[in-house]
Every structure is written in C-alpha cells, then in structure tokens.
C-alpha cells in the first residue's frame, strides 16, 4: 500500500490541476468575502441594516464552508474526480493490479491519498477564509478576531468529515462509470442541486409557513452552519456520527464492489 500511496502523491504534487485547485481553495473565500462586503455596504444604507449585518456574521460564513453544499464541496468533487477518481474511470489502476497488488490495498491507498488531498485543500481554504472574512468583515462585530478564528477551527474537523464524505462519494461514482465526466457531473449535481433539494424538502412546513424550522441533527451535512448558535457537545457528537455513518458505508462497502468487478 505504501508504494501505491508514494506513486499517487508523487503524481499529485506534479499535477497542474492540483495547484490550480489549491489556488481556487485559497482565493475563493476572497471572492465570497468581497461580494458579501459589497452587499453589506449597500444594505447598510437601507432600513433593517442590523439584521443584514447579523446574517453576515463571519462565524456563520466560516462554518458554511463546512457544508456539503459549499464552494469547498464543489472543489472537492472536481479535484478528487480529476486527480484520484479518474484512475478508476480510465483504467489507470491497471498498472498496480498487474503488479500483483491486492485490490483492497489499492483502494485503501487511493482513499488515503484522497484524504490527504482534502486535508491540504481544507486547511488552506479554512486558513484563507479565516484571514479574509475577519479582515474584510470582522470590524463590525462584537467579538475579537481570535474568537471567530478559534470558533471556526472548532468546525474544521466537521469540514474534513463532510468533505471526506463528498470525496468518497466522488470516487465511488468514478469506479462505476467509464468516462470521468459522468461522475464529475453527477457529483456536482448532487452537491449543488440534489442536497439543497433534499434540505428544502425536509423543511416544507417552513416554506409553506405551516411550521417551524427543525434542525435535522442526525443528518448534519445540511445543517452545520445553521447549528452554530445552539451547538453543544451532544449535538456536535451527533453531527460527527451522522457524517461517519455514510462515510463508513461508502468507504467500507466500496472495496467489496471494487474487489468483485473487472477493471476497465
């Protein structure tokens, strides 16, 4: 397994796509913070400015980065699909199989490399977002920059888990489809359309004004940013477990699928 990981990481760090996606991870918060700042300036000239300011609380924005519908999630689908999953779609895993590596070993190496990739992007993205959101938006709020950054990194672990879920899903799709474009498109649709639709569907009573919002604490992938005001240890634990279950199901179930299928 170590030899396959070594090969994968060598290729990752020599790939242009890796550095392009890294740049996006670092600079995307700049665009978002800048856009929000412009909206705030505009909104502050209107009645209800205080409400708008509260809705743009940096902590909420930072934690929004942990969502599976965030910009980071889209980036993870693209990066994992192009850099990791494409080997399964295009059959480039053949070289390792012909070299007598066990399939579970190969799959484990790819999963570890995927998590490494996500770790790098999430760390870079969260650092960048912390700096940018605080520096662009932080001067209008009651807490110190240190508080916001510290709180944001409390959610960093959740971001890693939710992005690992997205990455595992992407690799799963790449194993199942021959053309890498298909799993990429599917992954992007799931993250940007499917999951928001599920969330909306779960809150129909709110949409139609017949009920109140209820956080789906056992499906935390939708709700991380909405839970900041009520987050406590028990709720955090539920979020973690709610993320680990689908990750475990995909990550553990897929080797059995990969082991039983012919390689392209």
């Amino acid at each position: 397994m170590i030899s396959v990981i070594s090969s994968l990481l060598y290729r990752l760090f020599r790939s242009v796509y890796f550095y392009v996606c890294l740049a996006i991870a670092v600079f995307a918060p700049l665009l978002q913070a800048g856009t929000i700042k412009l909206l705030l300036i505009f909104a502050q000239s209107l009645p209800g400015a205080e409400t708008v300011a509260l809705a743009a609380d940096p902590l909420t924005l930072l934690v929004a980065e942990t969502n599976v519908t965030s910009t980071m999630a889209t980036l993870v689908v693209i990066a994992v699909g192009l850099l990791i999953g494409s080997d399964f779609s295009q059959g480039l895993v053949r070289n390792a199989i012909i070299a007598n590596k066990k399939r579970t070993e190969i799959y484990g190496a790819y999963m570890i490399s995927m998590v490494t990739l996500i770790l790098i992007y999430c760390t870079a993205g969260m650092l960048s977002a912390s700096v940018l959101y605080i520096s662009i938006l932080g001067n209008i709020y009651e807490y110190s920059a240190g508080y916001y950054i510290g709180s944001a990194f409390a959610f960093y672990g959740l971001q890693l888990l939710s992005m690992t879920l997205i990455g595992t899903m992407t690799v799963f799709l790449c194993v199942g489809f021959k053309r890498v474009s298909t799993p990429l498109i599917l992954g992007l649709l799931i993250v940007n359309v499917g999951l928001p639709l599920i969330l909306a569907g779960s809150q129909l009573t709110v949409i139609f004004g017949t009920g109140q919002y209820e956080a789906l604490t056992w499906i935390p992938i939708f709700n991380l940013s909405m839970l900041t005001s009520t987050m406590d240890g028990a709720l955090m634990a539920k979020c973690v477990v709610g993320l680990l279950i689908p990750i475990a199901a995909l990550a553990v179930g897929m080797p059995f699928y990969f082991k039983k299928t012919d390689i392209r």
Binding site: S3, Y10, S15, G91, N95, I97, A99, N100, T261, I263
Partner: protein, 299 residues
C-alpha cells in the same frame, strides 16, 4: 525440462451469458515466446485480462510463476492499450511505475531502460504528444522496469510502421534470449509471429483449439499445388470424383491440391475432364493457412 510459468485449468469467463473464454486449459513453459492467435472475438484479450488479474474468472483456476515465487515485478503486461499518464513525460511515467513496484527511482537505471526501447530521458515531451509507436515503446519500457519474468503483450505491433515492427521484434528476441523473459504475444500479423514464436496457442470462439510448439506447427505447414481455373467448384468436383482427397476451393477461381501427387497428373486429370487450367505453381502453406485450416476458416 523447463517448468511451466503459466498453468491454466478449465478457465472460464462468462459475460452476460456468453462464455467469452470457455473451459480453457494450457501450460506455457518458462522461456517460451508464445504466440496467441485467434480471430476477432476469439477471447485472446479476455484471456490476457484474466491472466493479469484485470478480469475475474467465472470458474477455473490459473497460476503464474508457480504462485509462491511471484513478486510484484514478476509479471508485466500491456493489455488492450498502453496505460500511460498523458500529462507526464516518459521519465515521470517510469518513476511512477518504479514507485508502485517499490523500486528505487534511480535516474541512471531509468535512462538505460528508456534507451533500451529507443527513447531518451532528456526528452521532456508529454506523453500525450507521442506517436503510437513511441507510446508502445514507452509502455514496453514501463513493463521492463521491474525485470519481469513474464511479459504479456496484446497486439503490441498494431499501428507500427515496418521499422517499428522490426525494432519491436528484435527487442523481444533480445529480452527472451538474453534476459530469459517468457513472452506471450497476441497478434493478427501472423508473419511476424512466425519469426518469433516458439509456441502457439490458437483460440476460436473462446476455446483453445490447438496448443503446440513451433516445430509441431511447421509439421502442419504443407506445400500444395495452386491452380487458377475458370470455375473452382467445378474443378474441385472433378478432382474429388477422380480419387483426390485433399482438395479445396480458395475463392471462385483458385484451387488448392494438398495431395502429394505430381502436378502433371493433376493437370492431365483436369484436361481429360474439360477443365482448363490458366496457371499452376507450388506454394508453402504459411502460418496463415495453417491457422485458417485449424479453425475451419479456409473456404
């Protein structure tokens, strides 16, 4: 007596109810160059995929390198198409493979491996810019990195120019004679296999029709009389009715007579029965004819 490097026992692969490889059993001795021959859809590529672990058998077993003696680099293969990373250079592709095999990425060794196939380590061109011939050579270089005992090649000379085919043949002969590499090579270019192979596996409709040595193959390679007539079917009927046994029509105007009888006698028989012969000459069967006869395709 050399031991067998590949042993297959009732190997079968079924796709959607069709046995693409059907109950195949054979042995390939170490040190052989084995030509795998068959028409399109005979099951050659599927057989290679089974032997490399890319496809899982439906039933049956096989063993390579006697199981226990096998290491990560014992077997190398190019199946269907070369698996190369297009966005990287030749040297980088070899470094990647050396890492997979757990080898040191020694620059000098990589350079010498590339030189063996006629490529230069100083060439930083990305593989996506390579011609087919260069890709084939690079794929061979990737295979040779781990000094394999067994090399499985699926139509490696397809698309190569005559010089490329010649270079490939010399390389394979060198690998076999100097490094003792056992090679299994599937190809439609039978004339090339004729120059290389020491053993043959002939496949048709998923089954191994014949497994034989080159010497045994030569025994099937009979000479025959080739006659050009106006109506081949009529000529065949005449000869058969006059006691000839091994006569076939190879087209509308070509007759092949395998019976060991002087040409004058054949011509006399035909002339007496009003069959005009435009030309006659003696030819050797060639691998193509032998193969077609074995699979019943020489009509």
């Amino acid at each position: 007596m050399p031991q067998n490097i590949i042993t297959a026992d009732k190997l079968t692969k079924v796709y959607k109810g069709i046995a693409v490889v059907d109950n195949v059993s054979f042995d390939i001795p170490e040190g052989a160059i084995c030509g795998l021959i068959g028409r399109n859809g005979a099951g050659k590529t599927t057989l290679l995929r089974l032997l490399t672990g890319l496809a899982l058998p439906t039933s049956g077993t096989y063993s390579i390198c006697n199981g226990l003696a096998r290491t990560d680099s014992s077997v190398a293969a190019i199946v269907e198409r070369p698996m190369l990373f297009d966005s990287m250079s030749a040297a980088d592709n070899l470094i990647l493979q050396s890492r997979v095999l757990g080898l040191d990425s020694d620059v000098n060794y990589i350079a010498s491996t590339l030189e063996l196939v006629g490529l230069d380590i100083k060439n930083k061109l990305k593989v996506k810019k390579y011609s087919l011939g260069m890709r084939q050579r690079l794929a061979i270089a990737v295979c040779l990195l781990g000094k394999p005992r067994l090399l499985l090649l699926d139509e490696p000379i397809n698309g190569l120019d005559p010089q490329g085919i010649n270079d490939m043949r010399r390389l394979l002969q060198q690998l076999n004679s100097q490094m003792g590499v056992t090679i299994v090579i599937s190809s439609h270019i039978l004339s090339e296999l004729d120059k290389l192979a020491t053993h043959y596996l002939i496949m048709d409709k998923g089954r191994v029709v014949q497994s034989l040595t080159a010497q045994q193959m030569a025994g099937y390679n009979r000479t025959y009389l080739r006659l050009v007539v106006e109506n081949a079917d009529n000529a065949v009927q005449v000869l058969l009715s006059n006691g000839y046994k091994d006569v076939v029509a190879a087209g509308k105007t070509i007759v092949k007579v395998y019976d060991d009888i002087p040409s004058t006698q054949v011509l006399l028989c035909l002339a007496q029965n009003g069959v005009a012969v435009k030309s006659v000459n003696t030819e050797g069967g060639g691998l193509e004819d032998v193969y077609l006869n074995m699979i019943g395709g020489n009509r």
